[in-house]
């Protein structure tokens, strides 16, 4: 390449008027030198392309057509608005109508929505059509100026700031500086303390305890009827709440911790002896609150004995003490120790012995 130019920073400069090879990246012309007509180093901006007139600019008939179209769109909008007003009073809120493609739907909602939508849409389409056909379309150029202010202005601002600082004597009187810093640093604290301190109570042991007590019957959710051990057929699954939870003061708060799922397995498939002991004849009860983020683990697959959480798909193996076999949860679901009372109903033999639900630091 030495015959063609000198190499500098990966670019190549040609001598004026010479042919070049094109393989070496950017090749720049050396410009106009020594009176020779040379090749400029870059292309120059050719300026705006010639303006192309629209038919409405040249043809009065086309302009009239555009005017009529815009006016028609605005007209449709007015009709649609009136339709809305009439429909608002005329159509009963509880009228349902079969609409092809949608199905059974509220007539009022559809008529009100469509008429309002058409009314708005036609205003918009009319305005845009007007702008595109009739308003001037000659491009206008506006100059930009750098964001940077003039040096004097910047200098003046800094000068004013510094002069103000000096005039306040902040530098000379450090006592004021430090005390002001302290006061400003502290004044927000009462606001923060008021807010944080009054938002809610401390959790204490609340997260670690549930409504379950020894001897409470297991009740069907939501019927709240007790469950006889003999009614629990093999492979069946029950959603369970503790007896009396519906009479509790904080029903939802208690439910959010006490919900339990009851599953009946063949005792032989249960692989953990403690799980078998804490159950009754293959009937085992586990917390239904996922140990991941607390969704109810509601999906039971009775052939594989897997419990699946519908929120994030953590999967628990009921045959293996509800250990996590898949998904983002880490801990097994806690087991509720159950037994049967004198009348044959399933009852809790002990409260949950560990916190249920999602993990937290001090659990």
């Amino acid at each position: 390449m030495s015959e063609h130019g000198t190499e500098s920073a990966g670019e190549h400069v040609s001598q004026p008027g010479t042919a070049l090879r094109l393989e070496q990246g950017q090749v720049e012309g050396a410009g106009n030198s020594e009176g020779q007509v040379g090749i400029p180093d870059r292309f120059s901006n050719p300026g705006l392309p010639p303006h192309v007139s629209r038919s409405a600019d040249l043809d009065e008939v086309a302009a009239h057509r555009a005017e009529r179209q815009v006016a028609t769109l605005f007209g449709i909008s007015m009709v649609a608005t009136l339709t809305f007003l009439v429909a608002y009073f005329a159509i009963d809120q509880r009228t349902y109508q079969f609409i092809p493609g949608i199905g059974q739907a509220s007539l009022s909602n559809i008529v009100l929505g469509v008429s309002l939508g058409v009314s708005l849409l036609c205003i918009g389409l009319g305005a845009v059509h007007w702008a595109k056909t009739l308003m001037p379309d000659t491009e206008v150029t506006e100059d930009r100026h750098p964001q940077r202010s003039s040096d004097e202005a910047r200098h003046e601002t800094v000068e004013t700031l510094e002069a103000g600082g000096r005039a306040s004597q902040l530098g000379r009187r450090p006592m004021i500086k430090y005390m002001l810093g302290g006061a400003l640093g502290l004044f927000a604290l009462p606001l923060v303390v008021q807010l944080a301190g009054s938002l809610g109570p401390l959790p204490k042991a609340d997260l670690a305890t549930t409504f379950w007590r020894r001897g409470m019957r297991l009740m069907r959710d939501p019927e709240m009827t007790p469950i006889k051990a003999s009614d629990v057929t093999l492979g069946s699954v029950f959603h369970v709440l503790p007896e009396g939870i519906d009479k509790s003061h904080d029903v939802l708060e208690e439910k959010a911790k006490a919900a339990v799922i009851l599953v009946s397995l063949p005792p032989a498939v249960i692989r953990v002896p403690r799980e078998r002991d804490w159950g009754h004849d293959g009937i085992v009860a586990y917390s239904k609150i996922c140990t991941h983020v607390g969704c109810p683990v509601g999906l039971y697959e009775h052939r594989t004995h897997h419990l699946l959480c519908p929120c994030h798909q953590s999967t628990f193996d009921v045959a293996n003490d509800c250990e996590v076999i898949f998904g983002p949860a880490h801990r097994p679901l806690p087991q509720l120790k159950i037994t049967v009372d004198a009348k044959g109903y399933l009852v809790a033999d002990a409260p949950f012995l560990q916190p249920v639900g999602p993990s937290y630091w001090e659990r």
Binding site: A9, L20, L22, G25, Q26, G117, V140, G294, P358
Partner: protein, 609 residues
Amino acid sequence: MSPTSTPKGAASLRADDVKPEALTKGPKSRTGGLASWVDDRTSAARPTSYLLKKVFPDHWSFMLGEIAMFSLIILLVTGTFLTFWFVPSAGRVIYNGSYVPLKGIPMSEAFKSTVDISFDVRGGLIMRQIHHWSALLFTVSITVHMFRVFFTGAFRKPREINWVIGTILSLLAINEGFTGYSLPDDLLSGTGIRAAEGFIQSVPVIGSYMAYFLFGGAFPGEAIIPRLFTVHVLLLPAVIVGLFTAHIVLVAVHKHTQYPGPGKTNDNVVGYPFMPVYLAKSGGFFFIVFGITTLMAALVTINPIWLYGPYDPSPVTAGSQPDWYMGFADGALRLFPGFAEFNVFGFTLSLNVFIPSLIVMPLLYTIAGAYPFIESWVTGDKREHHLLDRPRNAPTRTGLGVMAISFYLILFLAAGNDLIAIKLGLSINDITQTLRILLLVVPPLAYWVTKRICMSLQRRDHDLVLHGRESGRVVRTAEGSFFEVHEPLPEHERWTLVQHETLTPLQLTATVDANEVRRKSTRRERLRAKISSFYFADGVHPVTPAELAAAHHDGSAREAIETGQDSGAQEPSDQGWVGQLHGGADERPETDAYASHEDGVDSSPTSER
């Protein structure tokens, strides 16, 4: 009053006032009269005329931000309507309204009032559905607007601050959406709040305290609905509207960017004035966005909370997904493996929840917000940029953008892993495992593929400028060979393809200074040079006039840039069709063609004319 001034009569205090007749001078039309009245009191004439004459460039992609802006207005309007009927209370009531399937069921007042808006308030359902559809449109348009700004390099100086504001707006918008769809207290959104409570509990050390403070006690409690309501209708909207105003003011201060093209420079704005063109176009577009949103709300049901029922911690619906914009965070939760929960000195460190739920989102947004500063550090480019990049001309940036999008999309897909499993009849475990692997494999691949595509597109531009367009006209020469005439690109078309500048990687300066003393901080510079070369090492330079002239002189297809052979420049032909003949090799006499091969790779290229 200064002590030197002489006492004057009361009348003289007003002696400098402008005479009343001077005030009335001004434009004589009716508009002029009103404008004068206002201007007398506000001196608004100059700024108003400046704004009316302001020029906006025209491009479809500039409408994306407008959709977000108009959706925000629609949300404010319809949201205000909804507050007139919505009761932000968790108080328990028994439903006895007109929707029969829910009769007699205990529920919160929030849920009941939402059902009432849907069934008993005339036109209430349409307002609710416009509000919800509009929220989805708001978040979609913000996201796509961000893509536009990113891929065209519109975030570069002087617009970095506006990019950061936009990033914060996007983050606030999705959280505003979450607080909004949680308000009806239905089974689906209640499950979402339940999960959110689990996220907060996972915060190391203070998680359970934070949860009890936010919920005013145990979950769900009666405090969360009114608190979310205040956040949703007061706190977040105020911040969003404030930041949005700053966003728009900065757009006006900077003047809008424009795509490169003939007549457009870094020092001008080419477009149409606000009055009347953009007043009509933008104003009209507001009504178009509102109209289409309303039609969707009329014809497509969204969030039918009456089918989900009121929130109850015990039941759950299968296939529960959040609104789309929270999908990526939900997907991260689903993909994050469970082994990341640890026992630390008897305490539980639940990183399997904490990282995907509370770290991923802020982290992604921080990276996005910091990107302009990273890029300007790497490029060392401190100039103002008002001309947009064509994405292909910034292959590394475009590649990184697509990499981020692919990462986001896989998280988003993961939030629907259960739906995919059901619809396609696949194993959910396989899908989740596959997505875990894809999350690590696809983004780098997407980067690489995108970068290669961009560079191919650059080469195509390059070739198009050098060789022009095939005209379809085949000419037979006197020697009997055939070639197709290529027409050079018109100047105005060519400019778009050659206007961009190429940045070369930063070069390392000497590690010792003039006095042979080792310079400090070379490690930082080495890193910067390395990243810089990652960005720019394999750029395709835009065609220069010299190259175009060379292609014309050469007059054959044997330009080395195409063939990769070191065939050298041939003697230019003198036959008068120089510059238009870029057909096959046949257009040259065979002897020439052989001659160049015989010369071999190291032949000294002929250059004399």
